[in-house]
């Protein structure tokens, strides 16, 4: 009830939010329609490949919102956020592995192929329960959330900030990557989890399932956006920005800064986990490469390019940069990293507010010249 009225006021007062949500709804209708209903030879047909690609970008957009909450709003530059994304992805992957059942190469009803290959005879304890969808979904948010809680509790309580915090978050994701690479960990090692068959009984290869996953991704992106908006528009959100701008002052005003940082960090990690869970079934694989420190750094670039501290900027950045990436890696994969670096430097110097910030400035300018009338003067 509370949330309903919040959405209403958001739609009424925040034009950008309104248009964003309308766009999402339109995408959720148009894209699956053009994929499933429009014949393949029509120019309006959207290929399944494109649907999946868009779905991937939009799951990245959820991840970008998660980072924007901690970095853009709270000033915590986490360079390990992809780790939470990967953990969510693995939790979903484990469910999908269990769904394969005896259809694997070795036909073992309980053990995934890679375990049979390692001559394991029974399922490790931490794989128990993942055959149940609800349990796996719980783990999608709980595992990243718990890790963020423990990590944040230690880091924020000892008042680790700035570069030091960024470095230990990098170390965290790097350590996880090394661990997941090991076969003995029981997560498929190098190859990760793949060869998924179906989700909730729906064939993952079918166009209908793909469209369903796309719609689910849009739904969760919209939900993540609205809930995050609620958080940043609340007094709690203002405290978080206050911490970013003047941490000591916030303490002396009576707020327990550590708790606020911890809360926003855990919430953000959970969002990242959900993003990962949406990513895995669409891409069809999750492997330790997702923990790569580089991924977390790319994520920071998305948010910087889009404009931090706006939520919308995170979404725009994630989609734009990943489009560019797909485009570049198509014809010149070697130069992608150089391009990414150059982009980051360009944005930092010339567009400190990112794309969304630039758009806002342009809009304001236009509105000013449009209404450069006595009315505007009177209000000054």
């Amino acid at each position: 009830m509370e949330n309903r009225s919040f959405i209403m006021t958001l739609l009424a007062n925040d034009k950008a939010a309104k248009w964003f949500l309308i766009t999402l709804v339109a995408l959720a209708i148009v894209v699956p329609f053009c994929n499933l209903m429009v014949p393949a030879d029509s120019p309006f047909h959207v290929s399944t490949y494109t649907v999946t690609l868009l779905g991937k970008y939009l799951s990245y957009a959820i991840l970008a919102i998660a980072l924007d909450l901690v970095w853009g709003y709270c000033g915590i530059l986490s360079l390990g956020h992809a780790a939470f994304f990967a953990l969510g992805g693995y939790a979903m992957g484990m469910y999908l592995m269990r769904q394969i059942g005896d259809r694997g190469v070795y036909g073992n009803p309980d053990l995934p192929d890679f375990m049979v290959f390692l001559s394991w005879t029974e399922l490790p304890w931490y794989w128990q329960g993942f055959d149940m969808f609800w349990f796996a979904m719980l783990m999608v948010v709980l595992v990243p959330g718990m890790l963020a809680y423990v990590f944040g509790w230690l880091a924020f309580r000892s008042r680790v900030t700035g570069v030091y915090l960024s470095i230990i978050t990098q170390a965290l994701t790097f350590a996880l990557m090394l661990a997941f690479f090991r076969n003995e960990m029981g997560f498929g090692g190098n190859n990760g989890l793949t060869d998924f068959k179906d989700i909730l009984g729906f064939d993952l290869q079918s166009d209908n399932t793909r469209a369903g996953l796309f719609i689910a991704t849009i739904f969760f992106l919209g939900l993540a956006y609205v809930v995050s908006k609620f958080v940043v528009n609340s007094k709690m959100g203002r405290v978080v920005v206050a911490i970013r701008d003047a941490e000591a002052r916030t303490r002396f005003v009576g707020y327990k800064v550590e708790s606020f940082k911890l809360w926003i960090f855990v919430f953000s990690a959970m969002l990242a986990g959900i993003a990962g869970a949406l990513y895995t079934p669409q891409v069809g694989i999750i492997n330790p490469g997702e923990f790569s420190p580089l991924n977390s750094i790319e994520l920071v670039v998305w948010v910087a390019v889009g404009g931090r501290g706006t939520l919308l900027g995170a979404v725009v950045g994630a989609v734009v940069v990943n489009f560019a990436k797909t485009f570049f890696t198509g014809f010149a994969p070697e130069i992608w990293l150089f391009f990414l670096g150059a982009l980051f430097i360009f944005v930092t110097i010339f567009l400190p507010q990112g794309i969304v910030g630039l758009a806002q400035q342009l809009l304001e300018k236009r509105n000013k010249t449009k209404t450069a009338t006595p009315k505007a003067e009177a209000s000054v």
Binding site: V231, A242, A246, F252, V253, G254, S259, F260
Partner: protein
């Protein structure tokens, strides 16, 4: 000697028998029991600093400091640069921990054992030497953030201003003369206005003690006068401790003045007494 010191330490009235003391207050006829988190000023002073020492890398910034602030008092603290005035406030607010000595808020609250936000919630507000407000929030939001409320995470998430609280903020906006600027981002205020906003943020917290570090730096003459008025009007309801270099300003508000020098109290008394004190004169002239 060592044992004697040890014994003294064990027998400190303010520490060991804390629980006895509380029970005693409760048992005393005619007195109200002191609840947890309530300031006990039954003995007069609201702030006690006794034998406090702080050293930074061997440099003694605070040296056997003894200071008592009475409930409702307006106290001015002066002293040359580096005398330890700001460090003293850091100690009271929990930013700096003393190497030795005791710091008490009322009879019962040991400030050396409390964290910054606990001290702030208990009722000690502070204005920094360099004005720090929240630049990206509006003037109104700055006050809203400071406002006395349940400041834990969850209540903040679902916080809604009540009519009463809104009135309180409006009232403070008038007191600090920023009513017209209420919707302006704090970053856009002038230096003097920021100082006021910060004082407003203190007032709206409704603290028992206000620590005000160099409130008139960067203010015009007129603003200074208004600040003097504001601070004197706050005394009584609150205890106010003001650190300032401007002697004229101190003279205009002061009742009791403490002179700090090299981390130690050099003199204490009315402005005239203090200014006649030869030690004070030599410190200020010898600079």
């Amino acid at each position: 000697m060592k044992q004697l010191d040890g014994l003294r330490e064990t027998m400190r009235r303010d520490r060991v028998f804390n629980f006895v003391q509380k029970r005693q207050t409760m048992a005393l006829p005619g007195t109200r029991p002191v609840h947890d988190g309530e300031v006990d000023v039954s003995h007069g002073p609201i702030l006690y600093l006794e034998g406090v020492n702080v050293a930074f890398d061997g440099f003694k910034a605070i040296n056997d400091l003894n200071l008592y602030i009475d409930d409702g008092e307006l106290r001015c603290i002066i002293g040359p640069n580096g005398a330890g005035k700001t460090t003293m406030m850091d100690i009271i607010t929990g930013k700096t921990r003393p190497d030795s000595g005791s710091v008490y808020f009322g009879q019962t609250m040991d400030l050396t054992q409390m964290s910054e936000h606990e001290i702030a919630s208990a009722g000690i507000g502070r204005k920094f030497q360099k004005p720090t407000v929240f630049p990206h929030h509006t003037v109104f939001q700055n006050l809203e953030l400071a406002l006395q409320a349940d400041k834990r995470v969850w209540p903040s998430l679902f916080f809604k201003l009540t009519g009463e609280q809104r009135d309180r903020i409006d009232e403070v906006l008038k007191i600090i003369h920023l009513d017209a600027e209420r919707d302006l981002a704090a970053a856009q205020l002038s230096h003097g206005q920021k100082q006021w906003l910060e004082i407003g943020m203190l007032v709206v917290q409704n603290p028992r003690v206000l620590l005000v570090d160099e409130p008139i730096a960067g203010m015009t003459h007129q603003e200074t006068e208004r600040t003097a008025e504001l601070l004197t009007s706050l005394a009584g309801k609150h205890s106010v401790v003001v650190v300032e270099h401007d002697m004229e300003f101190i003279r205009s508000i002061a009742r009791k003045v403490t002179v700090l020098h090299e981390g130690h109290v050099l003199a204490e008394g009315s402005m005239d007494e203090v200014q006649r004190d030869p030690r004070v004169i030599s410190v200020y002239l010898g600079e």
